[in-house]
Symmetry: C2
Subunit: 515 residues, 2 copies
């Protein structure tokens, strides 16, 4: 518009048509940018979840299919105007997930059947009262049933599962009872019911057999993803603590701001309650599919969801602790700081293992249990550090001490949450009949890969908590350890202590080996 007015001032003789053209042009540009924006958004929505595009095509398909009842003459003669109920059913019943479609189809079918029968009954009753009494009796019956049925929708269980059914019940009852006073009824009722069944069946078949979207699978994935989000945060937080310690020898480089946004990822976990509940509700209706049986323990997923959100709440508080870096830390503070890092990292590993187990539908691996024990042990270690330093005789800056103490305290709470999540995932794997993880050998290999390297003062302690028999496998393991040790020595560490705890044996012996 600015350019436009400048042009007009420079060319005062210019005709008004030119101005109109310019303003049209700017309008066109605006429209173009708006269209581009919508196109961009459309593309993003499609790319985020391509199943959405498939769903849109499926709905189009189902609708075109039931339209056949209108196009094809013989079918039309059979059902007449009632064919529209098939279209209506498809439009209203077809949902994104199989569970949603089944829930609405079954609700609609059953409600139509029951309400239809009741409606015919009401009509018969009304006929007994003579022609004058009939509309009055029907009116009262419609009022009563509509009011009562509407009230039942406030019952939580009805609201959750049968809300749509109750709506259709009221609708069908009113229609049948009322239209009965005017037209031949049974024929219409039969036509409607059969067309509704055809519509519902079309939706269910297309929904189940053409690229199905299972709400149960979505819930399963959502819970696994949420657990992983917490793990990602705790891992990032651990790194952050390390970088704030100013530990140059740290393997993990200080992440830049873009990567730090991963620390914000848990926020979506806090708001996932509604999604989880609706998915669990739909999943309840779904038939068995893949490795999910008909009565898969969906409620257990909700339980895990609650615990995950509780943990996310603690993480929200922890998030506020990131910026509080100690300036000149005492040895005591450094110790606590390093314990915090270990707690955070171990919790992260437990959560990763749990998320992995849920994703692959296996029992949580032994590694998850070991990391859990490690994190509890680290929490105990923290307590013992406090005990050792119970009387702070040296000068300590309380203000700086506070920040590490708060971090540690929240982390201990998080460990408790993670423990609960772990128990809950165990329950889930039992109830849902998950597989056992593949083999012990593989576990041992992953154990090696997941070994914790704790820098305590100027030592590096490498703990492997698993029975090690003299097998070929263990020789490999040992050579792996030696390689790790070499790497760390070249990294500038002087002393390395390797403790091998036989936790699976009867006694817990410790065999420190100086390399």
């Amino acid at each position: 518009m600015e350019i436009n007015s400048i042009t007009c001032q420079e060319n005062p003789t210019r005709s008004c048509i030119g101005c109109v053209c310019d303003s049209l042009k700017s309008m066109f540009e605006k429209l173009k940018s708006k269209v581009m924006e919508i196109a961009k958004q459309t593309r993003k929505i499609g790319e985020d979840d391509p199943r959405r595009i498939v769903h849109a095509i499926k709905v189009g398909l189902a609708l075109t299919f039931v339209s056949l009842f209108y196009y094809v003459r013989p079918l039309y003669n059979g059902f007449g105007q009632a064919g529209m109920w098939a279209i209506l059913t498809v439009v209203v019943v077809f949902e994104f997930s199989v569970g949603g479609t089944l829930s609405k189809s079954i609700n609609r079918g059953c409600a139509t059947l029951i309400a239809g029968a009741l409606g015919v009954g009401a009509e018969c009753l009304a006929k007994l009262c003579g022609e004058k009494g009939q509309p009055f009796v029907l009116g009262v019956l419609v009022f009563l049933l509509a009011a009562i049925a509407t009230f039942t929708r406030f019952f939580p269980k009805v609201k959750q599962r049968y809300d749509y059914g109750v709506t259709i019940f009221i609708l069908t009852f009113s229609l049948v009872a009322v239209s009965g006073s005017q037209a031949a009824n049974l024929q219409i009722a039969y036509q409607r019911l059969s067309t509704i069944l055809i519509g519902g069946a079309t939706c269910m078949i297309i929904s189940i057999f053409v690229c199905p979207v299972w709400a149960g699978q979505d819930l399963h994935n959502l819970i696994a993803a949420n657990v992983e989000k917490l793990a990602t945060f705790l891992e990032g937080f651990g790194d952050e603590l390390f970088s704030s310690l100013g530990d140059e020898s740290s393997v993990v480089p200080c992440k830049d701001d873009k990567e730090k946004t991963y620390l914000q990822v848990y926020k979506s976990v806090l708001n996932s309650k509604a999604t989880e509940e609706s998915l669990a509700n739909f999943a309840w209706w779904e038939v068995g599919h893949g490795r999910f049986k008909f009565h898969h323990p969906w409620k257990q997923y909700l339980k895990i969801g609650v615990l995950v959100r509780e943990c996310a709440c603690h993480i929200e508080v922890l998030n506020g602790c990131i910026n509080s870096k100690p300036q000149a830390a005492s040895e005591f503070q450094l110790k606590i700081h390093s314990t915090c890092k270990n707690m955070s990292m171990e919790c992260s590993k437990v959560l990763k293992e749990l998320s992995f187990a849920i994703k692959n539908m296996t029992f949580p691996s032994a590694a998850a249990k070991i990391h859990m024990q490690n994190s509890i042990a680290t929490a105990d270690e923290f307590k013992s550090i406090l005990m050792e330093n119970s009387s702070l005789s040296t000068k300590t800056d309380v203000q700086e001490l506070m920040s590490v103490l708060v971090t540690a305290s929240v982390l201990i709470d998080i460990i408790k949450c993670v423990e609960k999540i772990s128990v809950s995932v165990d329950e889930l794997s039992q109830k849902a009949g998950f597989r056992q993880p593949k083999s012990l050998e593989k576990q041992q290999q992953t154990l090696l890969h997941r070994g914790i390297v704790k820098p305590v003062n100027d030592h590096v302690v490498l703990e492997i908590s698993e029975t090690l028999e003299e097998t070929v496998e263990n020789k490999k393991l040992r050579s792996g350890i030696v390689k790790l040790v070499d790497d760390h020595i070249s990294g500038g560490n002087d002393h390395i202590v390797i403790k091998i705890n036989e936790t699976l044996g009867d006694s817990e012996r410790s065999r420190p080996i100086e390399v």
Copy 2:
């Protein structure tokens, strides 16, 4: 059943009919208890919100009213079978809140109009393609429009406001386009549209004029209630801290377990997101009512809601600190403990004032600001206590110190949250044009009532942060202070310092008066 079998053994000659009677009796008893349970639940649901009963009656009323189109012959002759669309509309469109009903009615009306016009257009287009091409063209058009419209439902804005409209759009377009190939169309379209309008208008009128339930009012109340719940928790927490201090002179008696359940009340705040959002969405559709204008800033309520939930998250963590009572507390710990109590209490008072302001649609009172300043001052006081004791030369139990430090740290975070909530409520009161609180005099009186009495060491400091001119009102105030002072001296306190800060003036002078 057990009694039954005993009877049979004692009377082996007893006939089978007796057994059947007994089992019928037990079945009847079970049924009776089930019915009693449902009756109890029904009563509870009705008592929790009597508007639910009214709503059920309203739906019955609307439905009976539109049934008139079937009963009354002249009307029936005018609309014929299309009268059923009025019933359908009422059943589907009538929602609990006015906003819900308006949203669905308007969506349905507009979508029917647009889709009807498009459908007629599609039919004309199809006719150009000859009798053989017609079903094919219509089929393709239905498929395309249904697929595109279904996809638009994934756009967040469409999903939020026009989801129902899109459904009705697909439905009407399919019906009109398809049925057009069979019957005289315009007449039917006109009948349907007018019956839908009659149904929708009936719903809207009954919904607005018969005991209306405004979603906006509900949202308003919900936010005020949530803020108050946080206040209740913090007040309870403050009391709890005092009782854990073992302070016998505390005015508030130690609450029993039943009363402690109030500390759990904030949990519902954490899960209120979905409710808030749906209420705000419905409220957007509502016409002006009472003191809510047409474009009341509903989004601001959602902002406050987010902050309140954030605060509730911190409270969740604080809740874990309640059980950690200091055993043998040092003077330093006692100081911090008492500061924590003050922070908690002041925050609670701020939140109560804010909740009160929202409820009454007034600007937050000056008392809210003063309590806010007090809580920030207490947080600063805590920091200065830390500074004073920065080097703990005496023996301190770090483990016990930790619990108080964590409590204090979380409370400081809560103060930050409360500050944000306070700013947000201020914004709301500006945007929504709330009233000013009644008069300054009344404020001063409440100020006196709400004066904070802080025990610092063996002094009692009474701070009043307000300009005090020599008016009759202030003389009363002063005599009130003297009475308070007397009470505290008789309570065993030796020294009392009264600071009067003129915070409303240009400079902040402090006039301590030794009584």
